[in-house]
C-alpha cells in the first residue's frame, strides 16, 4: 500500500511499455473507482453457476474423505514403497499456487512494480485459499485427521515433543506461518476498502458488519502514516517468507536419500516453479473476472503482458532446473540417479515426464511473442496447460522416485485410485468455492490503492498531478 504510484511516463510509443509505468488511463476519478469496483459485488447468474459447480466438486472431495475415514487409508491407491501419492502431489501443487499472491503483494510492492496494483487483491485471496486447500492434504494423508494436533509442539501430559530435525515438522511451521501472514496481509489491505463499503452501504445490518470489519477506519493522516509503515514491514517480512516456504517444502524431498530427490537444486527450483504456477492460476481466475465484470480497463493488456513476462522468466528458470537435474545425474556418475532420470523420460514414466516438459518448458516459449502475451484467450488456455504441467511436475518428482528406488525388487507401479481423484476434484471445488464467495463479499481490486494511481482533483485541474 502506498507509494507504489508513479507518474505516467512520457508518451507511450509501443504497446510494450515498461511494466513499472503501467497505469489505468481509462480510470479518471475516485468516484469511478468506487462505483465500478463495488459493482462487482452484485451477484450474477455466471457467479451462481460457478459457485454451484465449485460446491458440487467440493462435495465430491468431502464424500471421498468421509469414505476414506470410514474404510481406511488403504483406499488411497498407495502401493509400497510408493507411500506418497496424489495427496502429497496435490499438497505441493496448492502450496505452489499460493506463492504468486504474496510475491505480487510483497515482492512486487518492494520493487514498486506498477502492474501489481490492480491484480494483487485477487492474488492475495488466491494465496490464502490455496494454502487453506494445501493444508488439508497432510491432514488427509495421515489417515486419522483427528491426530493432527500431535504435530504441534504444545506442552502435554505425555511430555512428548515433535522431532524438530524433521522436514515434515518444518513444513508445519512454514505453512502455518505462511497462512497466518497471508491472511493478515489480505485483511489489513482490505481495511480501507471496508471503510469505503461501510460509508456507501445503506442496509443497516451490512453497514454494521462493514463497520466492525473496518475497525472504525477513518482515513486520517495518522492512520495512513502508521499503515504505510506497517505495510512496508509486512512486505519486507513476506519477501523472504515467500522464498522460504517452498524451500522448506522442497526439503521434504531433498533431505531424503531417494534418487531424484537428494539435490541442492530443489529449493530455487521449487520456488521458481511455485511462482510460475501461481501466476498461471492468477490468469485462470483474473481473465474471466476482468471479462465478465467489465474490469478490462483495470486489469489491462499491459498488466497481462507484464505478468506474462514473469511467467516466461520463471518457465525458463524451471526449464533450466529440469535440464540441470539431467546434467547432474549424468555428471555425478551415480547409477541410481542416472537410472531414475532415464526412467523419467524414456522409461516407465515417459508420458508424465513429457507432459511436464511440454507444458512447462515448450508451450510457455510462446510468450516470446508479444502478440500472444497480449492475447487473454491464449493466456487463459496457457494457464490451464501450465497448471496441468505443474501438477505433473510434482507427480514426476514424487511417484517415479519412490517407485524406482535403489533396490530393483522394490520397483513397482502406481495408479491413483478413484478416491485420490475425488480428492483432487474436491480440492479445486474447495478452492473455487472460497474464492467465489470472497469476490462477492469483498472488492476483488483494491479500491484505496487504485485511487493512488488515479490523478486526484486539483484546483487548476490539468490531470496527472499525482
Amino acid at each position: 500500500m502506498a507509494t507504489t504510484a508513479k507518474p505516467v511516463q512520457g508518451k507511450i510509443k509501443r504497446p510494450n511499455i515498461p511494466s513499472a509505468g503501467i497505469q489505468v488511463p481509462a480510470v479518471s476519478s475516485f468516484e469511478q473507482v468506487d462505483d465500478e469496483i463495488l459493482a462487482t459485488l452484485k451477484p450474477s447468474s455466471k457467479w451462481f453457476m460457478g459457485l454451484g459447480l465449485a460446491i458440487a466438486a467440493m462435495l465430491v472431495g468431502a464424500s471421498a474423505w468421509t469414505y476414506q475415514i470410514y474404510w481406511g487409508l488403504g483406499n488411497a491407491g498407495y502401493v509400497p514403497p510408493v507411500m506418497w501419492g496424489v495427496y502429497i502431489i496435490t499438497f505441493v501443487f496448492w502450496v505452489g499456487i499460493g506463492h504468486a499472491g504474496t510475491l505480487i503483494s510483497a515482492i512486487l510492492y518492494l520493487f514498486r512494480a506498477g502492474f501489481r496494483t490492480t491484480i494483487y487483491r485477487a492474488s492475495e485471496a488466491m494465496t490464502v485459499f490455496a494454502v487453506m486447500t494445501a493444508g488439508l492434504f497432510p491432514i488427509i494423508h495421515i489417515g486419522r485427521p483427528w491426530k493432527f494436533f500431535l504435530l504441534i509442539p504444545y506442552p502435554n501430559w505425555r511430555l512428548l515433543f515433535p522431532q524438530f530435525k524433521s522436514p515434515l515438522l518444518w513444513d508445519v511451521f512454514a505453512i502455518s506461518t505462511y497462512l497466518t501472514i497471508s491472511t493478515t496481509f489480505l485483511y489489513l489491505g482490505l481495511i480501507p476498502d471496508f471503510a469505503v463499503m461501510r460509508d456507501k452501504e445503506t442496509n443497516p445490518i451490512r453497514k454494521r458488519i462493514f463497520a466492525m470489519l473496518s475497525l472504525g477506519w477513518k482515513n486520517t493522516d495518522r492512520e495512513w502514516r502508521h499503515f504505510a509503515k506497517m505495510y512496508m514491514f509486512l512486505a519486507a517480512f513476506s519477501t523472504p517468507l515467500v522464498l522460504s516456504v517452498h524451500s522448506v517444502v522442497s526439503f521434504d524431498f531433498a533431505m531424503a536419500l531417494t534418487p531424484g530427490w537428494h539435490t541442492t537444486i530443489f529449493p530455487p527450483y521449487f520456488v521458481g516453479g511455485a511462482i510460475f504456477s501461481g501466476f498461471a492460476m492468477v490468469w485462470t481466475i483474473l481473465i474471466p473476472i476482468r471479462k465478465w465484470w467489465n474490469l478490462e480497463h483495470y486489469v489491462t493488456l499491459n498488466h497481462l503482458d507484464a505478468t506474462a513476462k514473469v511467467v516466461l522468466f520463471t518457465s525458463i528458470m524451471v526449464g533450466s532446473g529440469y535440464l540441470s537435474e539431467f546434467f547432474i545425474a549424468w555428471f555425478s556418475g551415480v547409477a541410481p540417479e542416472q537410472e531414475y532420470f532415464w526412467n523419467r523420460v524414456f522409461g516407465q514414466w515417459w508420458w508424465a515426464g513429457w507432459i511436464l516438459l511440454l507444458c512447462n518448458m515448450i508451450f510457455p516459449l510462446s510468450l516470446f511473442s508479444q502478440k500472444l502475451r497480449r492475447n487473454p484467450t491464449w493466456l487463459f488456455i496457457l494457464s490451464i496447460i501450465i497448471n496441468i504441467g505443474m501438477w505433473y511436475e510434482r507427480f514426476v518428482i514424487v511417484v517415479p522416485s519412490l517407485s524406482h528406488e535403489f533396490e530393483p525388487w522394490q520397483w513397482t507401479h502406481y495408479t491413483p485410485s478413484w478416491i485420490d481423484m475425488c480428492f483432487l476434484v474436491g480440492s479445486f471445488g474447495w478452492f473455487f468455492m472460497w474464492f467465489l464467495l470472497f469476490i462477492k463479499q469483498m472488492p476483488v481490486i483494491a479500491i484505496a490503492e487504485v485511487k493512488e494511481i488515479v490523478p486526484p482533483k486539483m484546483k487548476n485541474d490539468h490531470g496527472g498531478h499525482h
Binding site: 460509508d199 504505510a228 482533483k457
Partner: protein, 166 residues
C-alpha cells in the same frame, strides 16, 4: 470533543490549508484523505512512524522463541537422529526464522493498531462519509470561540463545506 470539520474536493486545496494551519500553529489538526498522497505527507511533515520499534521487539522475541522451543524440547525429550547433536542449531534455524517472521509481523500489526488508535468504536464525530469516497477533509479540535476564524481560513483555501461540531 468539539471542533471544526472542513471538506475539500481538491488535493492541492487541502495541502494549502494544512500549510496555512501549520504556519498559524493551530494544534490538534487531523487530515482525511481517501488514499495516501505524498503531497499531504509533505504538508503535514509528521515524524516517522514508531511502528518499527514494535517490529524490532516482536521479531527479536520471535527468533529467540523459535530457537528456544526447539532446543529446550529436544533436550527435554532427546531423539538421536543420524549422529546429529541433540540440539542442532542449523535445522533449528528454520524454526527461528518462521517465528521471527510470524511474531515480527503480528507485533508490527499490533504496533499499527496501537499507534493508529484502531479499532475504534465511534466514527461519526469529526468525520464525513465523503472522506472514503473522494473528498479530503480537515478536522480541528478546538473551542467554539475559534470556529468563525477557522471557518474563514479553511474557506479561503477552497473548503466547500465547513461545519462546527460540538
Amino acid at each position: 470533543m468539539q471542533g471544526v470539520l472542513a471538506v475539500f474536493p481538491q488535493l492541492d486545496a487541502v495541502c494549502d490549508a494544512i500549510r496555512d494551519l501549520k504556519a498559524r500553529k493551530v494544534p490538534k489538526v487531523t487530515v482525511y484523505s481517501p488514499t495516501i498522497h505524498h503531497e499531504i505527507d509533505d504538508a503535514i511533515d509528521a515524524p516517522t512512524s514508531v511502528v518499527r520499534v514494535f517490529t524490532l521487539i516482536g521479531a527479536s522475541l520471535g527468533v529467540t522463541f523459535g530457537y528456544w522451543v526447539s532446543i529446550w524440547s529436544s533436550q527435554y525429550w532427546p531423539l538421536q537422529v543420524g549422529g546429529k547433536a541433540i540440539a542442532s542449531w542449523i535445522p533449528y534455524t528454520i524454526m527461528g526464522f518462521e517465528m521471527f517472521v510470524m511474531v515480527g509481523c503480528l507485533s508490527t500489526v499490533a504496533g499499527m493498531f496501537i499507534n493508529a488508535q484502531i479499532p475504534r468504536l465511534v466514527t461519526n464525530f469529526g468525520y464525513d462519509a465523503r472522506f472514503t469516497h473522494g473528498d479530503y477533509g480537515i478536522w480541528i479540535e478546538t473551542t467554539p470561540d475559534k470556529f468563525a476564524e477557522l471557518e474563514a481560513t479553511l474557506k479561503s483555501h477552497g473548503a466547500v463545506e465547513v461545519r462546527g461540531e460540538r
